[in-house]
């Protein structure tokens, strides 16, 4: 009897204990990396971790090796331009060569400190920067893509110490990519939070619905990868060959579709507005990009984005020869001796233009001329009539940057570094550009002047809830958002002035006529 009781008791205990005992199983993965012997060791460097990863994930590094994220190089099949971060010039921090050790803190690899980086080395792939879940993995500028292995000052003299990375802890907790991992670089493009894009900054790490209806952390909670669906480590979507107009309809399981899965249409199709009054909006989708109405403003999360950057004023020093830093009333830097003058903006209305996905860069060696007015760092293709364009919102980033007035080319200055030519240390353009152009393998006359440039960034993130989308009158009015966009008749904005004049004269004439006639009748009748 006693034994029987005990059996029952034990049975109960197990029944209640076992499911609980099984509970810590991570339900979002089949592998708990903290249980892997290979990761239960002290790692001295990032590449050592990568070697451990590759022990199981044998193909991962060679997959990564084929991507833009790794090569920073992309051959545009449309115009054969050699692009990628390694090659392009922008009007933010300008260019990568000669500044590798700083710029490559955003490279998914280890050790790219100069032009001799080994792109074939598997252990140079940085698995952790994308797969970290702890938020404790940080690559610092100047370390050529390595995280700090000992306590390190972020920038020499800043006094801000970043502690040595606990590689074993980070490695044992790897997981899927997240807004935080992608954001570690993409939120900070251009050298700081929100600087470059305007529609991407750290506020998207954990946004509310007002900021982004899809990434809403308490709602749909999309990660970047939900739309930018990666296969074999190749992440969908491109800044160099974007899809401006996706007419392929929504992707459906089981239907083979190798088109870009990151477009709005790849989920919503081309007629997403429900029946009833809103259905008229579907008549807009062959003219206006979804983003135009659904991203009414950028930089909405409380982080300002840079709107302009004038390098020509850089280098002013205090009477004591010290670099200067000026801030606006919100504490944001608007002048830095290293970089020149900035303007910043929050809740910025984008600019609008026809865009067909064709982007032509002004590369090193392309002729530029100050007398041309503004040099377009990237020329955005598109027109009302090419059948491939839609009206897109853009952040147009304007600036002035150094160029070679003799050779008539843009230049690639050596900005970052602790040496005697780096601009940010020595404030001398000639030496900095000479070093930079040498690293780029391009001729430099020795003369420096500044040229006005602009750069267009198609806007696609920070999608607002539908209640906050643009209303009809935002564009359908005489001086609305699309006031400057040609090639399309917009009711409420456009009219034929001659017909209007004739029409009003005719109606007004009729009115004057009948009033006169009536007055005459009135007068006569009184007689």
């Amino acid at each position: 009897m006693k034994i029987r009781h005990l059996v029952l008791l034990a049975g109960f205990a197990l029944a209640s204990a076992l499911p609980a005992g099984a509970a810590p199983a991570k339900l979002n993965t089949t592998a708990d990396h903290s249980k892997f012997k290979e990761l239960q060791q002290e790692f001295a460097s990032g590449p050592e971790v990568t070697k451990a990863c590759l022990g199981c994930h044998t193909e991962a590094a060679s997959q990564v090796h084929r991507t833009k994220h790794w090569n920073w190089e992309f051959l545009n099949p449309a115009n054969q331009q050699r692009l990628g971060k390694k090659n392009v010039i922008n009007n933010f921090c300008i260019s990568v060569p000669s500044n590798y050790a700083f710029c490559t803190s955003c490279h998914i690899g280890y050790g790219w400190k100069d032009g001799n980086f080994d792109f074939a080395a598997q252990e140079n792939v940085d698995c952790l920067v994308c797969h970290d879940t702890t938020g404790a993995y940080k690559k610092l500028p100047g370390l050529a893509g390595h995280p700090p292995y000992k306590d390190t000052e972020v920038l020499p003299g800043s006094g801000k110490i970043v502690k040595a990375t606990d590689l074993a802890k980070v490695a044992q907790k790897v997981g899927k990519t997240s807004r935080d991992t992608c954001g570690a670089c993409h939120f900070f493009g251009g050298g700081g939070d929100g600087v470059k894009h305007g529609d991407m900054d750290s506020s998207l790490a954990s946004p509310d619905k007002e900021l982004d209806v899809h990434m809403d952390a308490t709602g749909l909670d999309f990660t970047c990868g939900t739309c930018h669906k990666a296969a074999s480590h190749d992440v969908a979507g491109s800044r160099y060959t974007p899809v401006a107009r996706d007419t392929g309809g929504a992707h459906i399981r089981g239907k083979e579709d190798d088109s870009n899965p990151a477009t709005c249409q790849s989920c919503h199709g081309e007629t997403p507005h429900k029946k009833g009054e809103a259905a008229k909006l579907n008549d807009h989708t062959n003219v206006v990009a979804c983003q135009t109405c659904h991203i009414p403003k950028i930089a909405r999360g409380g982080v300002a984005t840079k709107m302009s950057w004038d390098w020509s004023t850089a280098g002013q020093l205090s009477p004591e020869g010290k670099p200067l830093l000026k801030k606006d009333d919100k504490g944001r830097v608007i002048y830095d001796s290293k970089k020149g003058d900035f303007t910043l903006g929050e809740n910025v209305e984008p600019e609008y233009m026809w865009f067909n996905g064709d982007i032509t860069y002004t590369l090193l060696g392309d002729k530029v001329d100050k007398t041309d007015g503004i040099t377009h760092i990237n020329k955005v293709g598109g027109s009302a009539t090419d059948g491939r364009s839609l009206i897109w919102p853009m952040k147009v980033f304007r600036g002035a940057q150094p160029y070679d007035p003799v050779n008539k080319t843009l230049v690639t200055p050596h900005t970052a570094g602790n040496d005697d030519t780096a601009y940010w240390k020595n404030f001398g353009w000639e030496k900095a550009i000479a070093t930079g152009m040498k690293a780029s393998g391009a001729p430099f006359s020795g003369q420096v002047d500044f040229i006005k440039t602009d750069m267009s960034w198609p806007i696609t993130h920070m999608v607002a809830p539908k209640e906050a989308a643009l209303g009809c009158a935002d564009c359908h009015s005489r001086d609305g958002r699309l006031a400057k966009v040609g090639g399309v008749y917009i009711p409420g904005r456009d009219h034929d002035p001659l017909i209007d004049l004739i029409g009003w004269l005719m109606a007004g004439g009729a009115l004057a006529g009948v009033i006169g006639h009536g007055a005459l009748r009135l007068v006569r009748r009184k007689d």
């Binding site: 034994i3 005990l6 034990a10 205990a13 609980a20 810590p24 938020g135 308490t218």
Partner: protein, 130 residues
């Protein structure tokens, strides 16, 4: 007798496993971040005279604060604002409280702890409130 011993052993292991599992929970700082910002900050900003950023205190200060379990200068319990009844009471207006309505109290508290420790002044990634 042998059977009995086996049963006792079984029972003991079962209980041990159960308690170990409770201890094994490790705070999810991302979930903590959402709760901190959407519940704590939202209310503090609207009703309690301004928000408090995790980076305003050190790890040790946060540890002590969480340990003391005193909210509003000791007027009430901090844990109360993480508990299920509180979440249930605000879930109609608060999406985070709604989303995490069924998360065990201890887990959510650990989540919050993980976030503030990580975001503390001397934490891995000092965090602001938004």
């Amino acid at each position: 007798m042998k059977t009995r011993r086996i049963l006792v052993t079984l029972l003991a292991t079962g209980l041990a496993a159960a308690s170990a599992s409770a201890l094994a929970y490790e705070g999810d700082w991302k979930r903590g971040r959402v709760y901190y910002r959407s519940v704590c900050t939202a209310c503090h900003a609207a009703q309690a005279g301004g928000s408090i950023a995790p980076s305003e205190m050190t790890k040790a200060q946060w540890q002590a604060y969480l340990q003391a379990d005193k909210h509003a200068k000791g007027k009430d319990s901090l844990k109360q604002y993480v508990g299920k009844p509180y979440r249930a009471s605000i879930r109609a207006q608060n999406k985070a409280a709604d989303k995490f309505a069924d998360v065990p109290d201890e887990e959510l508290f650990e989540d919050l702890k993980a976030f503030v420790i990580k975001g503390a002044k001397d934490g891995d990634a000092p965090a602001s409130c938004s």
